[in-house]
Symmetry: C2
Subunit: 398 residues, 2 copies
């Protein structure tokens, strides 16, 4: 994957970013890999149409990578475009039609100004019934937050614990957008006004961390990022030619739900996450306790809290407490987002679900250096589109 | 499928159009079909993002059709979005993962004015290298036309023959955008100025049919349309429950090529069409002569001429002559576009590849009334994205 970032890719297009990610994926294959060995290409992308004025990204990338005439597809499922592409790639290989499938995810978002990015992201919600009423994603997730607080007595400090943990992890990830702890960021910002912080909460509760959509503050929201990620999916036979230490797809799941939040029976949980996870666990013959670590979709801190419950790691209402107790940290019982998550690693929408699989792959191979989870057996990736109208889950193992 | 049209769907959104198509598909199943029997949903759509400001169409439609929580995907491959969705649907069923897959295609294009539609469609080309140089699709296909004329001595009257034939066919198709012959249209327009035409070429060569991109004139171009189409793909066992006369998927093919026309070795043929067709023929054990009729991608008349050669129905350079001789008419040796084609049936981009399959299905079941092809055995659908950077082909049989 490329580094996810808000500035350094300024002069690149999405095609450049994805090519960079694909070439890195190919060159990291232990026994060598030629792009021409791919039988098909799936590209997850939310809206190159609006962000870059360019569609037809499947063919564009097959062309740009020099791997025509293989069939190519662009898959869109909002912020789960990457996860949906992975699922279709797994299906294609497991069907036996293709031996090797290249799956890429990309989004070049910073070409537009922030307001327009927010409007563009709102296309992932129900534009006629949610965006038209003034809802953008921070507002939608704020509504879910408030419902969770009300039902379970969870609180904002627990959300902040998630943000703090994800920045800690991202500091150890050279591909992350932010590689500083929140305290480090706080003191960098504070310095300008002669302020020194010793407790990150002091900063997080101050006007330096403004309310975006009550109760969510700036550091509860993932940033806007440019970036790309790619993975190579192969049949077992092919994979064994490429490497002696392949990572296995144990299972995958996917579910849909109402596009608009207003149509959900419950705002404190994402039903499609539960269903997608249920499929994935059942198909792999595994339970939540068998999972060594997970990359979950923390577009907002509340999303990670809810995911940690929906995926069965904690009981409903217990996710916040667990985060505060450090149980989801690198040394915790279920490390969540060891790569820094969307919050601190960044969230180039279409790339996110693919980048999660990159992290799971590296963790399972023990290649994560300072952020390495201790001896993982199974890793889970969880990618959410919209407020949960699309959710994908994959489980991988060594 | 809905009727394809430029006016009547003015007050509908894409979601309304696709729901209409899906409900018609479901209600036309001989032994009854409940939408809940679908295991997955694939939606082909080029750019609801730009046309309607709405993305995440897979989940939106699963929601709108009341069939959550099934997995849903939006697939984009420019004007081949529909064909690519069909191919992924076929793959999903043939893999055994799903028994029944619903595939829809939709585009609501007329919300934007014509200039903006042309700009939006240009996103299917290479925006950085083609659109930036001033190319839009009529210009790109005009360049292909000129190359074909130069190499083979084909001429504009042969293109006009394709347009005339497709309007003749569309007159017999209640779902077509235009249901008049070109002579009827000519005299309707001429009447306003007191002119009567007896020969359609007299009209087609006049200023009433202005040059759009030399040598292509207005009636060489497909119109801008709103519309949707849907098909139900099922395992053989399931299909036999739904009907005693299913239509069989014999095979499917797909290929990619350079996105930009400038990078092609030859402009008189679409390489990806030849490759996709080759796959489909080989996999079905069939040859071009076995095909009873075909729905081909005639976004411009030249595209049908080239397709009739690339698909192997005529030798290179012979497609124009064959059209002029009526060999592709309803009574010809290989009827092409019995439904009126993109030219006269209309071309709501994402719906087109799916609508072709609807026509093939109906023809093979002998349900096409006045435009029915005589006792067809195999029907072929051919869908092109851009100037041929994506091509899909499917062959169906009784």
């Amino acid at each position: 994957m490329t580094r996810f970032h808000h500035k350094i890719h300024e002069n690149k297009q999405g095609r450049d970013l994805l090519a960079e990610a694909v070439l890195e994926a190919a060159s990291s294959v232990d026994n060598g890999f030629q792009l021409r060995e791919a039988d098909a290409l799936y590209v997850g992308c939310f809206s190159s149409d609006v962000f870059e004025g360019q569609a037809h990204l499947g063919a564009l990338m097959a062309d740009y990578l020099g791997i025509t005439p293989i069939p190519s597809y662009r898959v869109e499922a909002a912020c789960a475009s990457g996860g949906a592409s992975i699922n279709l790639g797994i299906l294609a290989v497991s069907s036996g039609l293709f031996d090797v499938v290249l799956v890429g995810g990309v989004e070049k978002m910073r070409g537009l100004d922030t307001g327009k990015v927010t409007d563009t992201l709102a296309m992932a919600a129900d534009v006629s019934y949610e965006a038209a009423a003034g809802f953008t994603f921070p507002g939608l997730y704020a509504a879910m937050t408030r419902a969770h607080f009300n039902k379970y007595g969870t609180n904002w400090r627990q959300l902040a614990a998630i943000s703090l943990k994800n920045h800690e992890n991202a500091k150890k990830n050279p591909k992350a957008q932010y590689q500083e702890t929140i305290l480090e960021i706080a003191n960098k910002i504070g310095q300008r006004k002669g302020i020194t912080f010793e407790d990150p909460y002091e900063f997080l509760e101050s006007d330096f961390n403004p309310v975006i959509a009550d109760p969510l503050r700036l550091f509860d929201c993932c940033p806007i990022s440019d970036g790309a990620a790619a993975v190579i999916l192969a049949s077992e036979e092919k994979a064994r030619q490429f490497t002696d230490t392949p990572v296995y797809v144990q299972s995958f799941g996917q579910a849909s739900d109402t596009l608009a939040l207003q149509d959900r029976a419950d705002l404190t949980s994402i039903k499609a996450s539960k269903l997608a996870a249920k499929q994935a666990y059942a198909s792999a013959g595994l339970e939540p306790k068998d999972i060594s670590f997970a990359c979950v979709h923390d577009c907002f801190t509340i999303a990670e809290m809810i995911a940690s419950e929906d995926l069965g790691f904690f009981s409903p209402g217990e996710g916040g407490k667990a985060a505060e107790q450090g149980r989801t940290g690198l040394q915790g019982d279920i490390p969540i987002n060891p790569d820094g998550g969307l919050k601190a690693k960044g969230h180039p929408v279409g790339a996110t679900g693919v980048a999660m699989v990159v992290e799971v792959f590296k963790q399972l191979r023990g290649e994560c250096g300072e952020r390495q989870v201790d001896d993982p057996v199974y890793g889970l990736a969880h990618n959410v589109g919209g407020t949960g109208a699309t959710v994908t889950v994959q489980i991988f193992g060594r």
